[in-house]
């Protein structure tokens, strides 16, 4: 008999995988973006099931509230390029299917040989507040993970500056004047 947690896991896994398949096969770009949002929400629910509540909320705040909205805006800006009547699959899509299936099979076979996969979850010794406090302390501790933290902030700053410069419309109007 399946416990409640297992039933919830199976339902959420089915929804997430179905949404992911619709992301890669949908004809309309708007629908693709919406199915992506459902997949991201499903992953957030997985994080909650894995006792990583902080990461679940960060997932919703970063992916759904920022990245998904950016993607939807760009979908609306470029919608005239490929309407839903054009074909969405490239000519060699059958090779992609074979590659994906081989990859999935290979991964599952490889993991099935690892002995610790039937393991049950060890009980957590500390509560959720201590987990988050430990994470925060580890991110600013000089002996531990402050360098990846600072590198990630510099990366975000570089990405922000870079995307503004790349998407700046000023240069293109100059080039249009040069061409005409």
């Amino acid at each position: 008999m399946l416990t409640l947690t297992q039933i919830v896991f199976l339902i959420v896994a089915a929804i997430t995988l179905l949404a992911a398949i619709m992301v890669v096969t949908s004809r309309s770009m708007v629908h693709t973006a919406l199915w992506l949002i459902m997949t991201l929400a499903g992953i957030a629910v997985f994080f909650v099931l894995l006792n990583a509540g902080f990461l679940a909320v960060v997932q919703v705040a970063v992916y759904i509230d920022a990245i998904a909205i950016m993607i939807i805006i760009v979908v609306m800006l470029t919608q005239r390029s490929m309407g839903s009547q054009d074909r969405q699959r490239s000519k060699t899509w059958w090779a992609a299917v074979i590659a994906a299936l081989l990859l999935f099979g290979g991964l599952v076979l490889m993991f099935a040989q690892a002995p610790l996969l039937g393991a049950e979850a060890p009980t957590l010794t500390v509560g959720p507040e201590a987990l988050i406090e430990e994470l925060g302390l580890a991110l600013v501790d000089v002996d531990r993970y402050i360098v990846p933290f600072e590198v990630a902030s510099v990366l975000l700053l570089a990405a922000m500056v870079g995307s503004i410069i790349v998407a700046w419309p000023g240069r293109m109007s100059q080039e249009q004047e040069d061409e005409s």
Partner: protein, 102 residues
């Protein structure tokens, strides 16, 4: 309750679906969305392994935060590039963006 293998299978399935999407779609935005699926599958794997094998060591979650930051910056720069390409070539089908300069 839930064995680790279930999480690994879901992560591997998401990863494979993302690989199919990145290889088989013509629209540059759709490829970007498939790459987001891949990054999410990696995150799921990381958190599952953290929870089941080393719940006392916080390195797994730090790695997930760094992957969040990398994914966000990659999407930002990728979308800026797509907008810029759309302005110049008026198309975002990757088959038609194959010449550097004409």
């Amino acid at each position: 309750m839930i064995p680790l293998s279930w999480y690994i299978i879901v992560g591997a399935a998401l990863f494979s679906i993302g690989i199919y999407g990145a290889l088989a779609r013509r629209n540059a935005l759709a490829i970007l969305m498939a790459i987001e699926l891949i990054l999410n599958a990696v995150n799921l794997n990381l958190v599952a392994f953290w929870r089941y094998l080393t719940p006392n060591i916080v390195a797994g979650k730090v790695f997930v935060l760094v992957v969040f930051a990398v994914a966000a910056s990659e999407v930002a720069v990728g979308l800026a590039l797509i907008i810029s390409i759309y302005r110049r070539r008026h198309t975002i089908a990757v088959e038609e963006i194959d010449m550097m300069k004409w």
